[in-house]
Amino acid sequence: MNTKKNIGVLGLLGLVIMIQLLTHWTGTQYYLTQLTMSAYYSLVILGLCVLMGYAGQISLGHAGFFAIGGYLAAALTTHDLTPYSNTLIIQVLNRCGLLIQGQDIYGDVLLYFNPWVSCILAISAAALTALVTGIPVLKLKGHYLAMATLGFGTIIYRIVLASAFFGEADGISDVPPFTLVSGIPGLPVIEVSGDFSGRVQNYYIAWSMVIAGTLLLLNLIDSRVGRALRSIHGSEETADAMGINTARYKLKTFILSAIFAAAAGVFLTHFNGGIGPSEAGIMKSVRYVAIVAVGGMANIWGALTMGVLLNFLSLRGIFGTYDDAVFGLILILIMLFAPEGILSIRIRQRLRNAFSSSTSEIRGGESS
């Protein structure tokens, strides 16, 4: 029953490689930058897809989690720690090799968090926030849940916009590269950065994360937990009566999706070399929801396809100044005419039934 899933993931891998080769041969490597960014945004969308489509919980605040990841990674790797260098904490951190040293233009020593440390801190902070907010928020339903998550997103936006630590309206720039692998003989230095020469490398870093993320989530959906999530979506009361701790599953999914968003935030911030408040804005959250909806809600592949496609087009500037309007329009049109997404299972099933009604017995156990 797993073959179809694995073929899909392998196909994705092939496609990723093929696109890179194509840009190489046709001399259009400049596409890689936007493809890399689209990949990271798609990571947010994948997580949200499981939350919305499978656990059935809407979140209008997911840009908030992306921002927690991105902003913390940026702030921790750009704020100099030397003023605190004689505090115990900083000394211990330094001793453990969790800090890195730099130099300012006058040659003075500066002290920053190692990107690995900031990455882990940022993602943990997002997970913790999801835990703390999720416990009360996920008790809500419908309009209340939507408003509460919208409120959460707004608060995060206000915080980054108003605090000097996060650079207020300017955001944070000059975020250093995130070195993933270095000093291993025979391997080049692998780092997440917007460096021109690292374009191909970064394209593959981003896409391996997407592929890994997709595989993990597809596995999850096929598992016992995935079945529980879908049953919550189908009828919460009944899931409860079947012994499923619905509150706990919703919370865990919320945290999982927050982790995906935060990880995307961390990596994209290192890739872009900075982050600004618009990343935390409500429009971003709505955009993520829109893309999940277009993809068909409970459809990982749909969310991924649409996530890459729409983000890529948007980043290429196809929609010009109508960027946000396009996403608003998409939301409305999809919800009016194809609430199950344009890649909807029902449409696919209709096609499938039309072509192969006889093989359906043999395929047996597949569940997607």
Binding site: N2, L216, L217, N219, L220, D222, S223, R224, V225, G226, R227, A228, R230, S231, H233, G234, S235, E237, T238, A239, D240, A241, M242, G243, I244, N245, T246, K252, L256, A298, S360, G364, G365, S367
Partner: protein, 252 residues
């Protein structure tokens, strides 16, 4: 101690006293029926037992545990499972998946195991699938296993719901009007099935309007009317009970 003991249970909805001082015991291994006219409070009683509603006063003791304050999922984990009067299947899932979801309490794989598709989950999944298919065979719905559950015919949906409830391996099975919407032949089959389930060692508490079915299979009957328990006893005795006759004649 009986399997399920209900003491002076009350439930008020605003001014409406839906369940009024009802006491009831269900002994292990029996088939017990609750009957009564529409709006008598039967479904409310079930909801109180299963933890979907919390009582205004009174207690429910299941397997020697007081259920006060427990959530439905906790009650389910203690070995109580139910079907609903207005069938509640998981839409968007196949019949098989619905039944498999019933196996939730009897399996363990968590988020990480699921995401990383760890080998030990494979055996568990295969077991769940096997067990679910067996149950569907027992209920003669295996041919619909891969159909979207909510697209099935009414009777088949009821069977899926029953299979799902059985899949939790309950001690006590609550059935709310399982024969509603079935024809006479199907009802008779249902009767045989319920007896078969009892033979598997599962105690059954059922709400039912179909008198012939109730009289046929139950060991004991409780009659509710306007929230009150007005009679209790063996089917033969209930049939003779003048108050019960009055209610049912009055109703017709």
């Amino acid at each position: 101690m009986a399997l399920l003991e209900i003491h002076r249970l009350n439930k008020k909805f605003g001014g409406l006293h839906a369940v009024n001082n009802v006491s009831l015991t269900v002994k292990k291994g029996m088939i017990k029926a609750v009957i009564g006219p529409n709006g008598a409070g039967k479904t409310t009683l079930f909801n109180l037992i299963a933890g979907n509603l919390s009582p205004s006063s009174g207690s429910v003791v299941f397997r020697n545990h007081e259920l006060q304050g427990l959530k439905p999922y906790q009650v389910a984990r203690m070995g109580m499972s139910r079907t609903f009067q207005n069938i509640k299947l998981f839409s968007g899932m196949t019949a098989l998946e619905n039944v498999m979801a019933g196996r939730h309490v009897r399996s363990r794989a968590g988020f990480l195991a699921g995401m990383f598709n760890l080998p030990h989950t494979w055996r568990e999944e295969a077991g769940i699938r096997q067990k679910s298919m067996d149950l569907m065979k027992l209920l003669e719905i295996e041919e619909f296993a891969h159909k979207e559950s909510t697209s099935l015919a009414f009777g088949q949906q009821r069977a899926v719901e029953m299979a799902r409830a059985l899949n939790t391996e309950p001690e006590l099975l609550l059935l709310d009007e399982p024969a509603a919407g079935l024809n006479m032949k199907e009802t008779a089959e249902l009767g045989r099935l319920i007896t078969k389930i009892r033979e598997m060692g599962i105690t059954i508490l059922l709400v039912e309007h179909d008198m012939s079915l109730v009289m046929d299979i139950s060991d004991e009957i409780t009659v509710l009317s306007f929230g009150h328990k007005i009679a209790e006893g063996k089917p033969a005795a209930i049939q003779q009970n003048p108050e019960v006759i009055k209610i049912y004649l009055g109703e017709n």
